[in-house]
Point group: C2
Chain length 224, copies 2
């Protein structure tokens, strides 16, 4: 069964479950899903039960949610669509990287596999989207760089930004103004846990700034 035979909400559920374990590894809860999708927990509970009946997730009532191999395949397909679309919107249609998330969120349910292939070809098989997130290959193999959040990086370390969460467009605009984007090099000057601040220097322009914890959690880095 192709992914396009799933309802759009089933596609959203699978993608969300997969995304939750892309960077952390704690499985997502019904409540957290409801929160992210903007629906009530009862809706998600019901939806998950239907996905389980279709063999796309494993779920015993009141217990955790796991993707089956088939479910994971569909989820990765949706993530691939989303990230290729984001890249396409930026590269080909002159969108800014902070504008593409919502547009891709809708388009990913409407595009055909043919269109995705054409985009992939036109862009030369890109491996990262505009926020630095890896684009899974057509065969579904993901590649997860050994990155961690800026908030958890030791002071004194030289790092390179790998990815920036695209969840909050306002935050993305702020990062863009500061010159923070994938591949930007930073030095972590200090962590002040009680103030929830991370102090960094941006090597490209020498600016020293403080980031709150929401920001320092959204930026993922690897040692330079």
């Amino acid at each position: 069964m192709p992914v396009s035979d799933l309802t759009t909400s089933a596609q959203d559920y699978l993608k969300l479950i997969w995304s939750a374990t892309e960077w952390s590894s704690e499985p997502i809860t019904i409540g957290a899903m409801a929160e992210r999708l903007g629906v009530t927990p009862s809706t998600v509970s019901d939806g998950i039960r239907k996905l389980a009946k279709q063999g796309l997730v494993e779920h015993a009532p009141y217990r955790s949610i796991e993707l089956t191999p088939t479910g994971r395949e569909h989820a990765v397909t949706m993530v691939r669509r989303h990230r290729l679309l984001e890249t396409f919107l930026v590269e080909t249609l002159n969108y800014r990287w902070d504008e593409v998330h919502d547009e891709a969120e809708v388009l990913e349910h409407a595009v055909s596999d043919t269109l995705i292939d054409k985009i992939d070809t036109l862009l030369g098989h890109p491996t990262r989207d505009p926020h630095g997130d890896p684009i899974p290959a057509a065969d579904g193999t993901p590649h997860r760089p050994a990155a961690g959040p800026l908030a958890a990086t030791e002071p004194g370390t030289n790092v390179t930004i790998t990815r920036i969460s695209d969840a909050n467009p306002d935050m993305l605009r702020y990062f863009a103004e500061l010159g923070l984007k994938p591949d930007t090099r930073l030095t972590v000057l200090g962590q002040r846990p009680y103030a929830d601040l991370t102090n960094i220097r941006i090597e490209e322009n020498g600016h020293e700034i403080d980031l709150g914890s929401a920001a320092a959690e959204a930026i993922w880095v690897v040692a330079a």
Copy 2:
């Protein structure tokens, strides 16, 4: 209310009603709509009643269907979306002109106004789609060339193809093989109404061929 607030089926209904009067001028019937949309008449009857309640169509039971000004505005927006998307798929993503109809049919419900504007800009504000159909401007003004179907053209006339109906992809592929596309010049050699055949010469390559009535109705021409 923006067009994106309508359900996708409402968008389809409005577009279809508008399209029915683009080239002919007989208003469409419930039955014809059902046929084109692949649903039963009862579904359409119900849908039209809802559109009337929203002030998008005028419809007294058992009588004809007319778009209100608001309804027409939304319909033209959808036609504009469809034709710009078709053009974009051909120009930017290397689709063939016979492949784009179905893809655009789905995408037109998912794209934002912003995306349509970006496409329009990228393509340099095109005025015709790959099949020769006029693309309504953003302000909704359509432009309808003084064209008529090839089937109704006097023998001996020199004509230029203005548009080719995109309803049937197989037919489009056949036309493409013959070299029939917008701006191709033809001479109508004869009309044989009882055999339902139109005999033409393609000026570009000198070929003389017969077209059945379905084909000769799908090709619209103007005197050269």
